[in-house]
Amino acid sequence: MATVEIRNVRKSYGPVEAIKGIDIAIQDGEFLVLLGPSGCGKSTLLRMVAGLEGITGGEIAIGGRVVNHLDPKDRDIAMVFQNYALYPHMTVFDNMAYGLKIRGIPKAEIRARVDKAAEILELGRFLDRRPSQLSGGQRQRVAMGRAIVREPAAFLFDEPLSNLDAKLRTQMRVEIKRLQDRLGITSLYVTHDQVEAMTLADRILVMNHGVAEQIGTPLEVYQRPASLFVAGFIGSPPMNVLDGRIDDRGEAVLVPGGQRLLLPRPRPTDAGRPVKLGIRPEHMAVAAEGFSIEIELVEALGADTVVYGRLPDGETLLVRMAGIPTVRERDRLTVAPQDGALHLFDAVTGRRME
């Protein structure tokens, strides 16, 4: 068990900077999720922590010890790979025991640790099998088992559930959460799946193009997205974003089409300023006056319904309603944001305006 500190870490591949200075201190026992779209540098950052990639700039410390120049084997971490990376020629038992044997742990203890991990992961029946004789979900468990038996200072996960089907993914997600709660080992978990991030994380680091857009708890990230990027990435369906302008008295936002949305508190200093206005689909409700939309598409998900509407100026507006649909395509509807549901972002930088 240990803290993991990442201090102004950078990574360049030739002239390309993949990681542009990331800072975060992960607490002992914390579950940190690195979330971002494909190619934003999540794996690169994780692999630098693991020691599989060199560090171009900055410092990484595990358990208070700077590890920049240590080999992976000396960092006391265990990693779970997307493709599991099991040793195909070894049995499940030997896969889990491999790292322990190398570290010279006595046979009896290896046996005990592997048996315990196999019990937790319900792998007991498969210890003599080869990875090729296991299903995807079982291989995933073996990869987890190989990490657990090591009892490392930190777990690193690189999209461990991406190769599983949807149902298994949900199931394994719950198991990983339970496991981490039980073992309390500091974890870094890379994913591009916001649901995994929201459900697993103590804190989420949202990454984009090699920078940390926001670091916060899942609810902070959802309720107060720090940038347009985060706002669009977290939440499904994504947040509606409209061009707007704060009126001359700083009391309301004007959107094209003549709508005037009152601000929760006046901002006289921002009077006249162009802004981006964000409203989550689930924070829209049918109202007497507001946005008038023509319904283009209705998605009935069962528990709720997503309505794709078109505004008079041609913009799309998503509305999420509870329950089964009460409207049909080509209907007209008037909707308005609920109180306090407005997010304002700088029109140029995309940063949140507090």
Binding site: L52, K73, I77, N83, L86, Y87, P88, G99, S132
Partner: protein
């Protein structure tokens, strides 16, 4: 998705197979059958009459002490060539795999020996090892070492072993490199996180995962050393000095083509065929069990 081709005609598959079957019949089965036939007959000096002699040719060949010497030379030669060609190729492949960026230039360089005709290769080796004109040969003599493979049997054997291995290294290298690149990078990374250093990673992960390739090359290289090194030996030493570099295949040629002993030579070819078939069978039977196919 897999697409399955269906034939309307029942005849078509056989027609498509026919050329391959014909080639095999004409160029392999027929001569092999002839060799078997010849091996149990004795021809007169003019090749006019031949007489059925049962296994006389075989007893004659096998009771010749020279033949047993040749057999010993062949075993030394074949084992040495196989071990050397595979060992060097594996080493080079591992080096290339770890620095794969320069590997394509490296691969091209390494494939050259394979593409060279044995006679051309032999000339190259002469330029290196000939005691009078070869660079390395002259250097050895200048240092006071008595190097002359034309007189010293041991040196001659060493040279043909080196030359024959050198020709096979490139072939082995390509297969080893392909085998190495088929091992997922993440598996090696997992092992290094698990605490294995490069040497241990090689012996516990790489080598076992390469075993199908290694096994395949073992069979191919053995057959190569037995059969396909004739050209190299012929061009370099003609089996000499004495009979120091005479292998079984070289002797078949010597007795059959040069000394015109068709019966004895055919008996030798049959023995050689049996040896290679037996070797291959043994390898499949005992070595393959240790091979891991993923």
């Amino acid at each position: 998705m897999q697409r399955r081709v269906t034939f309307d005609s029942r005849l078509l598959p056989y027609l498509l197979l026919a050329p391959q079957v014909a080639v095999t019949l004409v160029f392999f089965i027929w001569p092999a059958a002839q060799a078997v036939w010849q091996s149990v007959h004795l021809q007169d000096a003019f090749g006019i009459r031949s007489e059925f002699v049962w296994f006389e040719n075989f007893t004659y060949v096998l009771s010749d002490p020279n033949y047993l010497d040749t057999l010993q030379t062949t075993v030394i030669f074949s084992v040495a060539v196989t071990v050397l060609a595979m060992g060097v190729a594996l080493l080079l492949a591992v080096l290339a795999d770890s620095k794969i960026k320069g590997a394509s230039a490296y691969k091209t360089l390494l494939i050259w020996p394979y593409a060279l005709a044995p006679a051309v290769a032999a000339v190259l080796w002469m330029f290196i090892f000939n005691p009078d004109i070869g660079s390395f040969g002259r250097a050895l003599r200048a240092m006071g070492y008595d190097w002359d493979y034309r007189l010293n049997g041991g040196q001659a054997l060493l040279m043909v072993i080196l030359a024959a291995s050198w020709k096979q290294v490139s072939y082995n290298f390509i297969f080893f490199l392909a085998g190495l690149q088929a091992i997922p990078r993440s598996v090696m990374e997992a092992a290094s996180i698990d605490g294995a250093g490069p040497v241990r990673r090689f012996w516990t992960i790489t080598f076992p995962l390469l075993s199908p390739t290694t096994f395949f090359l073992l069979v191919v290289d053995m057959v190569y050393a037995f059969f396909e090194t004739f050209g190299t030996i012929h061009a370099l030493t003609q089996g000499g000095p004495g009979k120091a570099t005479e292998t079984l295949i070289f002797r078949v040629y010597q007795d059959g083509v040069v000394n015109n002993d068709l019966g004895g030579s055919s008996a030798q070819s049959v023995i050689l065929m049996v040896i290679v078939i037996a070797l291959t069978a043994v390898q499949f039977r005992f070595v393959e069990r240790k091979v891991h196919y993923s």
